[in-house]
């Protein structure tokens, strides 16, 4: 890979924080060991060490969007600060190409005593924009931030939302080549977040974006690639959807482990690249082809003709349930999902459905142990892994929970009107859990249990379309 196209290159990065009992020990550490070594005395360290980032290597190409996920304290912010240059790495090095604009944690480097206006000029100068240039852009910055008269108030009087608005607005106006955003958008209101997302989507086409968020849906939505950090180490680096899924599964397992339950996470198909980082295999859904082999013979297709004739022909072509063992799944294993099928309202399987039609999603399960209060549910996700809708049996049955004994089967029907879907691949995750909505253990979670492809949709905007009962235009008044 040529240097020209690499925006960020991180090699063997390590950051050690030296924790001192008192600040003066730090000064001693800077001087005394060197003196002691010179004089041949045994030197000793005045600190306890803590590695916030350990042996992290990756590169980001120009124009790429990379998400970074991980729990609190996993080293995300430290890593970003090193990339931005506000922290110096203990080991390894970072190369960056181009102007970096960063929104680290809450707000940029504002001086709280300065007014918004003064901070705009200050930040702009820091980014290397000349004063006259800043005067030209000032109006546009203020309009984007949309904080009204507060622009002439000291920044310390701002709400956290206003703070981020101004910070984001400045970052958006400095012609950055690399934009680094750390959790910043979570405090903005919906309208501003939308505005930022629009900006980020436009920015993606010309610059490099590094995006850190706990909102895994936003990460899968925005990022093509995601890096998962845990304990300062890189756990995975690969397509966003796969990394996020594995991250969430591991989170759940870790959560339940604390409560003494074990949730098995079968290894995702992974490979190690030469740098030793685990890279997730490409998405399975991308590998799905229209091959007949994946369609079982009990699927019939009587209506394709009829549907083709109608105006509302949002075709949903269904691929089959992946047999257990092939599917990516995790869970404690007290039950397993044996089959997931999509049927029409009369219980007949089809190869093709139409958006807007009533369907019956059937999840078949088998208990391997006695389970009190089972919950069966599903998620429908788009190609980016973004959750569109989902439901489960909890609310319907929580008054009179069933229990299930080893060897018994549960067949669950979800009957609902399938929304009209924009073109693309969709997947259904099926899950079997035990407990309550708030506190449950996943016994078996199957990713992409069912995959279907929407074609010939006339929908262009939004995530799902609602079947319209009727659309009318009423015209009133006499013509003049």
């Amino acid at each position: 890979m040529s240097c020209e196209d690499t925006s960020i290159r991180v090699r063997g990065l390590g950051k050690r924080f030296e924790m001192y009992a008192q600040p003066a020990d730090r000064l001693k550490q800077m001087i005394l060991p060197k003196v002691q070594r010179l004089t041949g005395l045994h030197s000793h360290d005045y600190f306890k060490e803590f590695w916030a980032v350990h042996d992290v290597s990756f590169s980001v190409q120009r124009g790429e969007t990379v998400g970074i996920i991980g729990r609190n304290g996993s080293g995300k912010s430290t890593l970003l600060q090193i990339i931005c240059g506000t922290l110096h790495p203990t080991l390894g090095h970072v190369e960056t190409n181009g102007r970096i604009a960063a929104l680290l944690e809450l707000g940029a480097g504002f001086n709280p005593e300065f007014t918004g206006r003064e901070n705009v000029f200050l930040s702009g100068l820091l980014y290397g924009i000349s004063e006259s240039e800043l005067r030209d852009r000032f109006q546009s910055i203020v309009e984007f931030a949309d904080i009204g008269d507060f622009i002439d108030q000291p920044v310390k009087t701002y709400s956290s939302g206003m703070y981020v608005r101004l910070a984001f607005s400045i970052a958006a106006h400095v012609d950055a080549d690399i934009l680094i955003i750390d959790e910043a958008l979570s405090v903005g209101d919906v309208i501003f977040t939308q505005k930022c997302m629009r900006y980020l989507r436009a920015f993606q086409s010309r610059g490099t974006l590094v995006f850190v968020s706990h909102d895994t849906a936003a990460v899968t939505n925005l990022c093509s690639r995601t890096i998962w950090l845990d304990g300062g180490r890189m756990m995975m680096d690969g397509p966003a959807k796969g990394v996020v899924e594995h991250y969430l599964a591991t989170q759940h397992a870790a959560d339940r482990a604390k409560m003494g339950e074990s949730v098995a996470i079968p290894a995702i198909a992974t490979r190690r690249d030469d740098s030793g980082t685990i890279t997730a295999e490409p998405e399975r859904s991308e590998a799905v082809d229209d091959g007949e082999s994946s369609i079982p013979c009990d699927v019939i297709d009587p209506r394709l003709h009829a549907l083709n004739g109608t105006a509302q022909r949002n075709l949903l072509q269904v691929f089959t349930f992946s047999p257990p063992g092939h599917a990516r799944q995790f869970g404690a294993g007290a039950a397993r999902i044996t089959n997931v099928r999509l049927l029409d309202a009369h219980g007949t399987a089809h190869k093709v459905f139409a958006g807007g039609e009533v369907v019956d999603l059937v999840i078949e399960t088998e208990a391997l142990q006695r389970i009190e209060a089972p919950i069966v549910g599903f998620h429908v996700k788009d190609r980016l892994g973004q959750l569109l809708f989902g439901d489960n049996t909890y609310l319907t049955y929580h008054e009179h929970p069933l229990h299930v004994l080893p060897g018994q089967h549960l067949r669950v029907h979800f009957r609902f009107r399938m929304p009209i879907l924009p073109n693309g691949d969709y997947s259904v995750d099926a899950a079997f859990a035990a407990g309550t909505q708030e506190d449950h253990t996943q016994q078996d979670w199957v990713y992409d249990a069912l995959i279907f492809r929407a074609t010939e949709s006339t929908m262009r905007h939004g995530l799902v379309g609602i079947p319209m009962h009727s659309i009318e235009i009423e015209r009133e008044g006499a013509a003049t």
Binding site: P23, L27, T86, I100, L125, L126
Partner: protein
Amino acid sequence: MTISAYRLIDPLSPYIALKRHFALIVQMARRDVAGRYRGSFMGLFWSFVNPLLMLVIYTFVFGVVFKARWNRQETGHLAFALILFAGLNINTLFTECANRASTLIIDNTNFVKKVVFPLETLSWSVLGAALFHLLISTIALLVIELIAIGHIPWTIVIFPIVVVVFLPFVAGAIWLLASLGVFLRDIKQFIAIGTMALMFLAPIMYPMSMIPAQFRIWMYLNPLTVIALASQNVLVFGKLPVWWHLGLYALVSCLFAWAAFAWFERTKKGFADVL
């Protein structure tokens, strides 16, 4: 933003920092001056009124109460106050900068942790703001001098040279104290005592001739001595400064600034870890 490192081996590196970020430094200094009186009724006018009021107090206390005389030639209450004022202005510049320096980095934590900020420029902008106040005080002094004595010595044209010689030392002191202030919070207490000592141990409130001869040479170890004497000479006495004193001072001042700048640059990598 990437900021290329300074070649610390270059004695000019402190001034390269000044040149490279000049717009930023001016912006910060201007904000600093404006911010001090923000919201006050008389605004910038305070910068002018403050020194005038001080001058009145000095005249009363030293001239009228103590009946202090600088030497045989200088009589009159106001003359003493003017001489005192010429020296005190120099001390005020230094004290203001030193006090700000100890908490300079701590007060600007955002600049350390959130953005890539050329922290070394903070020294220059603090100095810039202090210089502005020195300018106002000096104008006040000259106005009083004109009214009270009737003329201003021509030697005031040399005053800028005296100040320029002083600046590298003050900038260096800020770098040194600012860096130490991050690691040693006690430095603040030390500065309060230290600046007080420097004021009393310089020929500001008394003439050099009052110092016993055997101590006189030691007075020159005080970094304020040469500058205060030169300031009194050119602003009040109408005498030329002792040139070789100033020349030697300039050399030491620049060497100190260079060393302090290098120290600051070496230690600033650790700031983010401490704050």
